[in-house]
Amino acid sequence: MSAAIAPERPHATAEERFEYTLRLADTSLVAGQRLAEWLGHGPALEEDLALGNIALDLIGQARLLLALAGRIEGRGRDEDALAFWRDAGQFRNVSLAEQPNGDFGQTIVRQCLLDAWQLETYASLAGSLEAELADIAKKAVKECRYHWRYSSGWLVRLGDGTEESHRRVGAAVQDLWRFTDELLTPDALDARMTECGIAPPAAAIRERWERRVAGVLAEAKLPQPARSHYPWHGKRGVHTEALGHLLATLQHLPRTYPGVSW
């Protein structure tokens, strides 16, 4: 009797793994940079501290992921080379992450939609065949659980708070919803990573994300917008106008004084 032989999984190329890791890394970096803009300007000291904490977690994730991407690429680029010396077209974050802070409600909506996606994605990536990525995901998922608790808690309070807060946060959901399809719809690289056992299946992430977000929107007494079909492709390097400005600020110092240590 011959043993059943499982069909061997295809192996992703270093270039594919590099690109995929950058999608995760850049999403955390850009979202962390956005949240860090709040420090000293939040609606209460407690919120300054919480947004600062989340920014620290996200930038921490970005550092680990960028360093991993650099090792996969094998051309000697470290976290700072990748963060400070790529132009917008080389950034692979999802477009949602780069959207400007707006008011506190807009920030909360952006974070809530993104946190739900990061939480589900990292929870699944903890079982990735890319061992180093799985290790990072195991740490990140704990952080994302807190981020989700924070942003969803605020979304409910704002949605079910005053008339003004309901109106503001409702408008933010309507405005930012168009960027969510990019999170949930796999492109060829996402599909390839799933096939190779590196990334989770997109359909499962979509289902869990939709359930999670629908629950919070209902609790916040906010209607769920219709699905938007404009195809945003931040993860392929086609961004909104907002990213160029964010990078101009983020990168200006090392680029003004190249070749030195800080």
Partner: protein, 337 residues
Amino acid sequence: MYTQALDSAGAAEPQGDVEEAARLERFQARIDRDEKIEPKDWMPEDYRQALIRQIAQHAHSEVVGMLPEGNWITRAPSLRRKVVLIAKVQDEGGHGMYLYSAAETLGVSRAALIEQLLAGRAKYSSIFNYPTLTWADIGAIGWLVDGAAIMNQIPLCRCSYGPYARAMVRICKEESFHQRQGYELMLTLVRGSAAQRTMAQEALNRWWWPSLMMFGPSDAHSVHTAQSLRWKIKRFSNDELRQKFIDVTVPQAQYLGLTVPDPQLCWDEPAQHFRAGPIDWSEFQAVLAGDGPCNRERLAARREAHEAGRWVREAAAAYAEKHRTARPRPAAEEGGT
């Protein structure tokens, strides 16, 4: 950070009342025995007011102090520097919170204190009315401003008022880390390119004198120091602390290879102290009076954050009120699978 030498209100002489005089005497005896005064203990009204003023000014300084450094968070030149700076600014917000809580034990609310700040009726350390023009200013603030703050604050860990003293123990631990990171940042710059060394020197030039002024007016002009010392709210005079700071900091500047911007600075061999040239107190008074380089911007930023956050705070209060009697909201599904 960040106390500037803060003076207590003028102490009223005890009234003729014998019982009052006896209570004051017992209170002073407790202080003299180094006992801690706790929130529920009897205390003279002037002592309470002096503490409220000092703790509130300290809390406001922490919160306003988030702004000049926050100015460089989005532009930090490496990811490591960025996370260190975020953590530092966050610590300052945390210090503000403990200090407002310490002030609340004296019977004044955080909201009332913040209203005073925003109305321009409360003071904060005038050092934060100076701008952060280059990345080196982040190093200079850590090294000099936090260094001066530590000199002021270590003695406050032994302050006679328990809640303030305990808050200061934790704050001082964090300040000491801030000071070291600032110095390490300066060290990296002076070991770098010519442009980085220039940046470091210019930052020292900008922050040296304002740092010396952080200790407050000289003893000869500080009318309330004596009472604060008697109450052990303050442990050393402004000039003693300033001298200590100069003695510690000048050799650190020398190690960095930077020049302290004081042509009269010299070593006094018999006294074993560095002697600084005269401080331009007219600048200090101008900044204190609201005419510093960033007074308007700092207060405007705080007011703007407060106003822009009003609808958020109102929403949180309205939600809490609606759900006050209801079952607590079940935590949103948190599993992550």
